[in-house]
């Protein structure tokens, strides 16, 4: 017996034993009945698994739980159903003499071979399902304790819940909560980072759900005063560079960020010194740590500090090695305004992007719902020549990668003069996309025929039947199409990048990728902007919920 075979036996014995054991626990909990056979069976299997050779001794004092098969490329999993199909077809064809299955066999057989062949091409060896788990003694004890707890809990629940209803409600809530935790976790993580400092996100000090931020204290620095000024109806903040001949001051703008680095001439009268937020740091001195404010970094690398509690004009120069920043738990809300300020000023901090996105979304939704519903109705309910062929053509438009049709399509839009406009992004939706047509066709096909027949007998025309009888039956599906189209249009990033050349015609999705630079990125700002940009879509979803939850099927069929 080879090691491989032993491993397979061992694995089977182990998992069968474990299943029997679970069955025993279940019986014990749910009916209070003990089953000697189950216990004996499971023990026998587990002992067999224990003594069978198979895994090389690793000598780490742990029990190695075998996982399925030693070397088993997961691609073979795909071949399995095909293989089963093939064997079934073969069996039926040979013994039951059912000819219809020959075709199935003809498809499944070569398909199996192809899959195995292709899988063989890939070189993956170790997989999730291969190898072994090494379990420590503590882990075994924990598992046993867990089983006991399960028995107790189930027993208690059994006794308290007189009806099945309790268990049902309990499991529904458990499922909902568990599911939303799993699905919500990455999103919460995104929210958390949107409130963090970039340096904090990048740090390797462990995962912290509650962001820590640098503490700042507003301070009027006498040697480098910070001013607020009004210029062309905009509030500016910055420092004075020089004084012009007529007494006006040249202001070096610091805020808003979009105008940073610009200089503006401001009359003295409009200037007002304001405190500037300065980072708080601990300064290491001979008398211990001293809380101070980090005022600026000098060209020679030294930092100019103000020690809290001393007169405002007293400065200390020190080298950075003696400083530790003061951090506190808290949210950095500044990321949100910063992320909008980050966008070029001539886009009105993203408002232009938003306008373009809204135009695209609105027109796409109207186009998609209108065109695909009538086309889908025709394919689902009306009979005409060449219907099957046309439907196959319709579906096939989904199957060619868009990468290769991009170039000719671009030429068509150019001939129409639509480059650098929003039209290439929404006009095609008015010609019914295959995805939406197929979806709605499936829904139309489920609407009871009796309704239409009744209307037809009453002498209704086809459009009338479509509009007032069938369409109301599939409102939830129309809402689905609307939501999906809206979300796809909202997030469409590749399309605008290709067809639009001017920043002022770009949508919000384009702005998202601006936050990832070539060598530096600002994860905090990125996530803040993404959060801002999906708020409207979430709102849309919350509003649309009402419509697709209306059970429209009740409306027309009261008496059925």
């Amino acid at each position: 017996m080879t090691v491989g075979f032993a491993f397979v036996f061992k694995t089977l014995a182990f998992w069968v034993g474990l299943l029997l054991l679970v069955g025993f626990v279940w019986r014990l909990a749910s009916r209070g009945a003990r089953s000697v056979r189950l216990v004996a069976g499971s023990l026998a299997c587990l002992i067999l698994a224990w003594i069978l050779p198979g895994l090389p001794a690793l000598g780490d004092g742990r029990f190695h739980v075998p996982l399925f098969l030693p070397i088993f490329p997961a691609e073979y999993l795909l071949a399995l159903p095909l293989l089963v199909g093939f064997l079934r077809a073969l069996f039926l064809f040979l013994f039951a003499r059912k000819g219809g299955f020959a075709l199935q066999g003809m498809i499944c057989g070569p398909a199996t071979l192809a899959v195995v062949r292709i899988a063989g091409q890939s070189t993956a060896k170790a997989t999730i399902l291969g190898g072994s788990l090494s379990v420590s003694v503590t882990a075994c004890i924990c598992l046993a304790l867990l089983a006991v707890c399960a028995i107790v809990i189930m027993g208690v629940v059994q006794r308290r819940a007189s009806s099945k209803l309790f268990l049902r409600r309990f499991s529904i809530y458990a499922g909902l909560v568990a599911g939303s935790v799993v699905f919500g976790l990455p999103f919460l993580w995104m929210l958390s980072t949107s409130f963090s400092d970039d340096r904090e996100i990048n740090s390797a000090s462990g995962i912290s759900w509650i962001p820590r931020i640098q503490v700042t204290v507003p301070f009027k620095d006498p040697s480098k005063p910070y001013y607020k000024a009004q210029s062309n109806d905009q509030d500016l903040e910055g420092r004075i560079l020089s004084t012009a001949a007529n007494g006006d001051k040249l202001l070096d703008v610091v805020r808003p960020i979009a105008r940073l680095g610009q200089t503006v001439l401001v009359p003295q009268s409009l200037l007002e010194q304001i405190p500037e937020p300065k980072p708080e740091v601990f300064l290491q001195t001979n008398e211990g740590l001293k809380k101070s404010l980090d005022l600026e970094t000098l060209p020679n690398g030294q930092h100019r500090l103000h020690i809290i509690g001393t007169p405002d004009s007293d400065d200390v120069l020190t080298n950075p090695a003696r400083l530790t920043p003061v951090l506190a738990s808290g949210a950095r809300f500044q990321n949100y305004p910063d992320s909008l300020e980050f966008l070029p000023e001539d886009t009105l901090h993203g408002l232009v992007y938003l306008k373009n996105t809204l135009i695209i979304v609105l027109l796409s939704v109207i186009g998609a719902v209108f065109s695909s519903s009538i086309v889908a109705y025709a394919f689902a309910r009306l009979s005409f020549g060449g219907k099957k062929l046309l439907f196959a053509l319709l579906l096939s438009t989904m199957m060619l990668p868009t990468t290769v049709t991009l170039m000719p399509q671009f030429m068509i839009f150019r001939e129409l003069g639509w480059i650098d406009t929003l039209r290439p992004l929404w006009v095609p939706t008015f010609f019914a996309t295959a995805f939406n047509v197929f979806l709605l066709r499936q829904f139309f096909a489920g609407v009871p025929l009796e309704l239409e027949e009744a209307a037809r007998i009453d002498g209704c025309s086809v459009p009338k039947i479509f509009w007032s009888v069938t369409l109301p039956q599939v409102i939830p599906a129309l809402v689905t199409v609307a939501i999906w189209t809206a979300v796809a249009a909202w997030n469409n990033f590749a399309g605008p990048l290709i067809y639009i050349n001017s920043p002022e015609n770009m949508p919000v999705s384009y702005a998202v990728q601006l936050f990832q630079g070539q060598r530096s990125s600002q994860p905090g700002l990125l996530m803040a902007f993404v959060t801002l940009s999906i708020i409207p879509v979430i709102a849309l979803f919350l509003v649309a919920q009402r419509y697709f939850l209306q059970n429209s099927a009740t409306s027309g069929l009261g008496g059925r």
Binding site: Q121, S122, I128, L133, V135, G175, L176, G179, S180, G184, L185, P186, N202, A204, G206, G261, Q262, T297, N300, G301, P320, F342, V375, F384, L390, L394, L395, M399, P401, T403, V404, R414, F430, F431, A432, F435, Q442, F443, A445, G446, V479, W484, V487, N491, F493, I498, N501, S509, Q513, L514, F515, G517, R519, S520, I538, F541, F548, N551, A553, R560
Partner: protein
């Protein structure tokens, strides 16, 4: 709000008119000629660039700069190619220099020599070869003509952490090594790395001494050091599998073995952050070979780091000038890279673009940029150091006025400047991207152990050689007369429309006539869209799949050559990509179907707070793919201190079962499951569909079943599922169609470079994208697309065939 607007109709109208007026006024005001620039990313790094643009606009009132940033990927090749073909071109683009020749060879860029010759005498700011480092200048030169003015000139050197060397002084001395200087040759580098690597008790590497490919070195750097050209002098032969190249690869693998092998080292280096989190900057890594931008990072984020910069260690023979290196001129060398500003051929405002290039690369422009950038960094509490430039004059300026004052950083800067004049550069060839990808792939394959180094290099060499041959051979292929397919297409278009129109007048039975006409009328929107927008491009791509077409020059006929190559020479990669999508779709599609259906069933119950739960499940599918890829790359960071997934894994599965956390996207066996996981997170998008489906079920059937006493399980299987079957069918069909063509996720996760560990993230659509837009083989890409099309078609046809047995429609037709 809506009501308010309605009540103030006059006001809204006035407001609207005002906006319109403002808009037209703005349009009229933009009289200066636009200079359109594409490429540079905007952000914290570009505050200086923005200041320079403002200064340019002020200095040259006849021009106005219009900047379109491209974000993460730099210049998007798809965008540039469509723009060139469509004739809507920018005036200046920012292009990675080594790919300039790819484009120049296909006639996409304007040669700049005549402009330089015209202005050299009159304008002192004109870029001329004598002002630039020769390597940077030559890299942008193809067949004697210059196609781009080099901007940056990053070059690589060895960064070493003096503090760590001192800390390990006794051990280093014991091994016969000097702790006061960095390694100079390869054997020393290995010896230092061995001493400086820290392992835990079980031999697991905690801190690697030196990772060959962390930073920016690649196989290329070691080939340069080992004097191993990757391309023959005349550029017609690829030398990737030559002896010196293999030596370089062997050295890299040896260095990897010291730090626990390639897999472990890449898993470790994939946990490393960038910028502020660069482990060298934070003092956690003793050595790395990287570019001069590291100085800027150290100045910004690690001002206390005690480090030194030295030329990268060279082969021992080179160090001692023996063997092949007997007559070597420069012992220590480096590799120069960077970007260039180029003007596409056919740009509308060449003069404006040229004026911008001259201004931006003049001392005046650079001074404005650096001053503004430094101000921004200082305003954010960081210092700033400009990167190395291709122009010697500008580099001197940077050194004099902007480079850091501190001696350590200044010394580092000087090392890079000293090396720049002895730099080598990647060969000027029309297959630069292919060559680059080949060396990346060879290192990965040899490192993963799926191929021996020799095999990996040979495969890479064959692939590049084919690109070279195809390009050189292409000129002898017959040109395609596009008139024939155009006429055929037009006839087909007219015939199609006519056939469809004729259907209206076909004789149907009297009963059916009205219905058929209405049916045809109803599908007319789609038919028109199909004929006008879809059919043409589809047929065009089918036609081009029989040609050699690089988009930029006319297509040439090759018959079935593309298909032959796909199933012949290129079989391995194509089949690998097919296996990958089969894996991901075969497991991912049913799994996400199951997940979203079970969530929908959960949500279909009566419970408190349902809208909130619904939103929670749905939100993930709303996150834009760019952001969700970034998010998942953090979450799946293998380092438990940074990645959420492994942090949870370590505290649960890791402690209970003692299983080490996976390396996700950087381990070949985990990359595809990670992709599935990412897709699964968005499965909530499907619940809308299921909830809609569940709400169109007729309740009367359930009532009837309840009266008959059917259990809830029975009701589910016998009533709900059959009624939902059309939607389940829709989901599987569409799911497979989408999954087999998956591209976006793979592209974003790999950020468009490489195809994941051992090519596990390569999908056919991604493969054809690199072929079409990276290697300029749109004809070949079309052939891949059509093979994929047939496969998807077959899968769909099988599903339709099988569906007759399990999908129940209301109508049997």
């Amino acid at each position: 709000m809506a009501k308010w607007l309605e009540n103030h109709k006059g006001l809204t109208r006035a407001l609207f008119a005002f906006c319109l007026g403002l808009l037209s006024a703005l349009c009229l005001a933009s009289a200066p000629k636009d200079v359109v620039i594409w490429g540079p990313s905007v952000g914290a790094d570009s505050k200086g660039l923005e200041a320079a643009i403002r200064a340019f606009d002020a200095k040259f009132p006849q021009y106005h700069i219009k900047l379109l940033a491209m974000g993460a990927g730099g210049m998007n090749p798809q965008k540039l190619m469509t723009a060139i073909v469509g004739g809507v071109l920018p005036d200046v683009i920012d292009q990675d220099r080594f790919t300039i020749n790819d484009w120049a060879a296909r006639g996409a860029f304007q040669p700049l020599d005549s402009l330089i010759a015209r202005d050299a005498k009159t304008d002192p700011e004109t870029p001329t070869p004598d002002k630039y480092y020769p390597a940077a200048w030559h890299e942008a030169t193809y067949e004697g003509q210059l196609y781009g003015i080099p901007t940056g000139a990053d070059n690589r050197a060895l960064y070493w952490n003096k503090a760590i060397f001192h800390q390990f002084a006794p051990q280093l001395r014991a091994a016969g090594l000097d702790p006061n200087r960095p390694p100079q040759m390869w054997s020393e580098l290995l010896a230092y790395s061995k001493v400086l690597t820290i392992r835990d008790k079980s031999g697991h590497v905690i801190r690697p001494g030196f990772i060959p490919n962390f930073g920016n070195s690649w196989l290329y750097m070691y080939c340069f050091l080992n004097d191993a050209p990757l391309l023959s002098q005349d550029g017609t032969h690829c030398l990737l599998s030559s002896e010196p190249v293999r030596e370089s690869l062997d050295f890299m693998l040896k260095a990897y073995d010291i730090v626990g092998g390639y897999n472990q080292a890449t898993a470790i280096s994939s946990t490393f952050g960038q910028d502020a989190a660069d482990p060298f900057v934070t003092g956690q890594l003793p050595m790395k070979i990287d570019g001069d931008w590291t100085i800027n990072n150290i100045v910004k984020y690690g001002p206390d780091l005690d480090y030194g910069v030295a030329p990268a260690p060279i082969p021992d023979d080179r160090c001692y000038c023996r063997g092949r290196f007997k007559n070597v001129k420069d012992r220590f060398i480096t590799w120069i890279g960077g970007w260039s500003l180029a003007i596409p051929r056919g740009a509308r405002n060449i003069e404006g673009g040229w004026a911008w290039i001259k201004f931006y690369l003049s001392p005046e422009g650079k001074r404005i940029e650096w001053t503004a950038q430094r101000a921004w960094e200082r305003a954010h509490g960081k210092d700033y150091s400009p990167e190395m430039l291709a122009s010697k004059q500008l580099t001197q300026l940077a050194l004099a006025d902007f480079a850091p004052r501190e001696p350590r950083n200044r010394a580092a800067y000087l090392v890079h400047i000293g090396l720049a004049s002895k730099a080598l550069f990647r060969p000027s060839t029309f297959a630069a991207q292919a060559l680059w990808d080949a060396q990346v792939r060879a290192l990965d394959e040899a490192g993963q152990g799926s191929l021996t180094p020799q095999q990996a290099l040979e495969q890479g060499q064959n692939r590049v050689q084919r690109e070279l041959n195809d390009f050189l051979k292409a000129k002898s292929l017959p040109l395609v007369d596009l008139k024939i397919p155009a006429v055929v297409g037009l006839i087909g278009f007219v015939a199609g429309i006519a056939l469809f129109g004729a259907q209206f007048f076909r004789r149907y039975s009297r009963l059916k006539r009205a219905e058929a006409r209405w049916g045809l009328l109803f599908i007319t929107p789609w038919v028109f869209g199909f004929f006008i927008l879809t059919l043409g491009p589809m047929l065009a791509s089918l036609f081009f799949s029989f040609t050699e077409w690089n988009v930029l020059t006319p297509a040439r006929w090759v018959g079935f050559g593309n298909y032959g190559a796909l199933f012949g020479a290129d079989r391995e990669l194509f089949f690998k990509s097919l296996a990958n999508v089969l894996y991901v779709s075969g497991i991912g599609v049913p799994l996400s179907l199951f997940t979203s259906l079970s969530i929908a069933l959960l949500l279909n119950n009566k419970a408190r707070g349902l809208p909130a739960y619904r939103a929670f499940f749905y939100i993930p599918s709303l996150v834009p793919s760019v952001a969700s890829a970034a998010l998942w790359l953090w979450i799946l960071n293998p380092d438990p201190a940074r990645g959420l997934a492994n942090s949870l894994w370590k505290s649960t599965i890791g402690t209970i079962f003692g299983v080490g956390a996976p390396a996700w996207f950087s381990a070949p066996e985990w990359a595809r499951p990670s992709l599935i996981l990412m897709g699964l997170w968005g499965a909530g998008g499907g619940i809308v569909l299921w909830l809609a489906g569940l709400n169109t079920l007729s309740p009367s059937l359930f009532e009837a079943a309840k009266i008959d006493g059917a259990s809830s399980g029975r009701q589910f299987w016998s009533i709900m599922l059959p009624q939902l079957s059309p939607i389940i069918f829709f989901s599987t069909v569409v799911g497979f169609i989408g999954a087999l063509q998956q591209f976006e996720q793979n592209y974003l996760v790999t950020s468009g470079t490489g195809a994941g560990p051992n090519d596990t993230l390569l999908s056919p659509a991604y493969y054809l994208f690199t072929q079409g837009f990276g290697y300029f083989k749109m004809g070949y890409a079309s052939a891949i697309a059509w093979v994929l099309f047939l496969i998807v078609m077959a899968v769909t046809a099988i599903q339709f065939f099988v569906s007759k047995r399990w999908v129940s429609y209301e109508v049997q037709q």
